[in-house]
């Protein structure tokens, strides 16, 4: 009997090899997204997947057998904004990395959250520039030695969930690749939200982060995620000191606010 992965039906025929290294967290994220679609029984032809440059940009493109838009570095959210405005009936999903979405593309991220445009943004946050060989990112922990911070990183890491929350996102969640089920649940939730949803996935880069910094291989990194993470509920009762170096996972924001394309239509009806 030939065994076929249950999600293979969503993979573009002929797109077999991946850009990811052994142990990369991108595969878990890819599966969480496809599994969410599968479990919600949504039609992949209703989706447009938009991604940027870097390893995570290759999660949907060209592998998801759907409309895919593999864009310039940092701009997937802006491209996705154009797609959503032209085709508000589409389910627009952005999947990209932390360098792409939070460094070079940071402005697009906050403005999309501010506009509350109906899209789901999934940020694979490995805390490093993996594809280019392990340079410091705006998400790299303080003090970490990378190929461009040989004496340790002196800049604080971005809290992307707090950022998107402050900018006005309707839904914000954080998970790690260890929490594949929680992540899938959140993707399902995000896909059913009307406004802007942001999911941060702390994800292992076993080569450029794990090996270079001595944190260890993929298994060791995921064990670390397991041991260092706390649920939102549990974290609520802890002090700032106790939460130091912890990863708070779960839903951080879930509210209903007017979505941009719906607001445009509403305004149109008023002026008709």
């Amino acid at each position: 009997m030939k065994l076929v992965h249950p999600l293979m039906k969503y993979v573009r025929p002929g797109a077999i090899s991946t850009a990811t290294c052994t142990g990369c967290g991108d595969g878990i994220i890819a599966q969480a997204v496809l599994r969410a679609i599968d479990e919600l029984e949504l039609n992949i032809d209703d989706f447009v997947f938009v991604s940027g440059i870097g390893c995570a940009g290759w999660i949907p493109s060209p592998f998801f057998n759907a409309d895919t838009l593999h864009t310039t570095h940092g701009r997937p959210i802006a491209f996705a904004t154009g797609v959503k405005l032209a085709r508000p009936d589409r389910e627009v999903v952005v999947i990209s990395g932390d360098g792409d979405l939070a460094a070079i593309g940071g402005n697009h991220l906050i403005h999309a959250a501010r506009r509350n445009i109906g899209m789901t943004v999934i940020c694979a946050n490995n805390g490093i520039y993996g594809m280019t060989g392990g340079q410091v990112a705006p998400t790299t922990p303080l003090g970490l030695k990378t190929t461009t911070t040989p004496y340790g990183n002196v800049e604080r890491a971005f809290d992307l969930c707090a950022l998107t929350d402050a900018a006005g996102a309707s839904y914000v969640a954080r998970w790690t690749t260890y929490h594949a089920r929680g992540l899938t649940r959140s993707v399902k939730k995000a896909l059913t939200k009307r406004g802007f949803s942001f999911i941060e996935v702390i994800s292992q880069c076993p080569l450029q982060y794990g090996r270079r910094t001595g944190v260890g291989n993929a298994v060791a990194m995921m064990k670390g995620y397991k041991e260092n993470s706390l649920s939102v509920k549990k974290a609520a009762s802890l002090s700032e000191e106790e939460l130091k170096n912890k990863i708070i996972v779960g839903e951080l924001v879930d509210k209903d606010m007017p979505e941009l394309t719906e607001q445009i239509e509403k305004l149109r009806r008023i002026h008709e």
């Binding site: 409309d67 904004t81 697009h108 305004l267 149109r268």
Partner: protein, 381 residues
């Protein structure tokens, strides 16, 4: 009544006429960022588009704006942005992206004096290379240069059509003078509008970037039409798969350039006067041509065999046309332009020594005066 086409005679600013050209062409979405001297295009389209069910969006910057335009175009819409040279700087990465993904879009550059911030309210023609060569590596674009508000209307409409036919970023290379002047603009009762060529085969038989022998431009389905389009800025095969092979790179880059460059005769738009027996030609483009025209008319009145040639298509550069022109005998070609002398190099290359080419540069802020050009004609003849 067609709310898109304001048929009739109007007194319009160039930027406003540009907006009306976009409306006539069927523009669905405009994204732009405020910048002098192009802001009026945004302002007009913010209500004109809204009134016909289209969308105006103010980007977080120029880069954001062109990116939104390309996304909307992938969604099947006609889309445009307008800016000045400083904004084009920010748009460069997406100009290359639109080129490699073959996404139709119209980019209006109302040029101002530079470099850098320069003089926001004064004119220049400094971006002629920037729009052609600004993004990384090799591709082709189309650039049309209006010399009046009427042409801001006519050429913007045409830019949309050409962008759809050739699937390339198409530029309106205006300048502050043309953008801000008010003149009579005639909007006809009927205009010719080109719609995007869609695949005729069902999704299972469709190869996204495959062309046949009679065209270098593949048909383009929109997202959501069931074609599962793999759009990517990576070098890609006919099927849209990323590739690092030399053969794939060569085929793609050559096609991206050839689909425009090989059609140079079809794309050449020229205005001429007094060419038959002309010994001294004044070759100009954009607002500079208005002074050139007056200078040539004055020279003719004085019995000087001067000719007037205005390039409306700047890119692809009309080499074949110019080669034919110089074979007919003008001794000298004067090229006034509001930059340090850029297009004059293209002219020199195209005429290949068959006529003397004289550059008359003025680096922005101040237009060429007709008498300056007239005096040069007298000296040269």
């Amino acid at each position: 009544m067609n709310k898109r086409l304001l048929s009739g005679i109007h007194l319009l600013q160039g930027d406003e006429a540009c907006a009306e050209g976009a409306m006539a062409a069927g523009c669905d979405l405009f994204a732009g960022y405020p910048i002098t001297p192009a802001t009026e295009v945004s302002e007009r389209l913010s209500w004109r588009l809204f009134d016909v069910g289209g969308i105006f969006v103010q980007g977080a910057d120029e880069l954001d704006s062109l990116t939104i335009v390309i996304g909307a175009a992938c969604g099947g819409w006609k889309a445009m942005t307008a800016t000045s040279g400083n904004g084009i700087c920010l748009m460069q990465e997406c100009i290359g992206y639109a080129a490699i993904t073959e996404t139709p879009c119209v980019i209006v550059d109302v040029q101002r004096a530079g470099p850098g911030t320069g003089v926001a309210t004064k004119t220049m023609q400094g971006d002629v290379y920037q729009v052609r060569y600004g993004s990384n590596a090799d591709y082709s674009i189309i650039a049309l240069v209006p010399d009046s508000p009427q042409e801001m209307f006519d050429l913007t409409l045409e830019a949309f059509n050409l962008s759809e036919i050739y699937r390339v970023p198409t530029f309106i290379l205006a300048d502050e003078i043309v953008g801000h002047m008010r003149e009579k603009v005639v909007i006809p009762e009927k205009v010719s509008v080109v719609e995007r060529r869609k695949p005729k085969v069902p999704p299972k038989d469709f190869i996204p970037f495959k062309v046949n022998s009679d065209t270098d431009v593949p048909p383009m389905p929109a997202f959501g039409e069931g074609y599962r389009m793999p759009v990517s800025g990576l070098t890609h095969t006919e099927t849209g798969s990323p590739s690092t092979s030399y053969e794939v790179q060569k085929a793609l880059v050559e096609r991206l350039c050839n689909k425009v460059e090989k059609k140079v005769d079809d794309l050449t738009r020229i205005e001429t006067a007094f060419m038959e027996d002309a010994e001294v030609l004044v070759l100009s483009y954009g607002s500079t041509a208005r002074a050139a025209r007056r200078a040539v008319i004055r020279a003719r009145k004085d019995g000087i065999k001067a000719g007037y040639l205005r390039l409306i298509t700047l890119w692809p550069f009309p080499d074949p046309y110019l080669k034919r022109v110089v074979s007919e005998g003008p001794r000298a070609i004067i090229v006034p332009e509001m930059n340090v002398g850029k297009m004059v190099r293209e002219v020199e290359r195209a005429v290949g020594g068959k006529a003397e080419v004289i550059s008359f540069p003025k680096p922005g802020v101040e237009l060429h005066r007709p008498d300056e050009i007239y005096n040069l004609i007298r000296r040269v003849r």
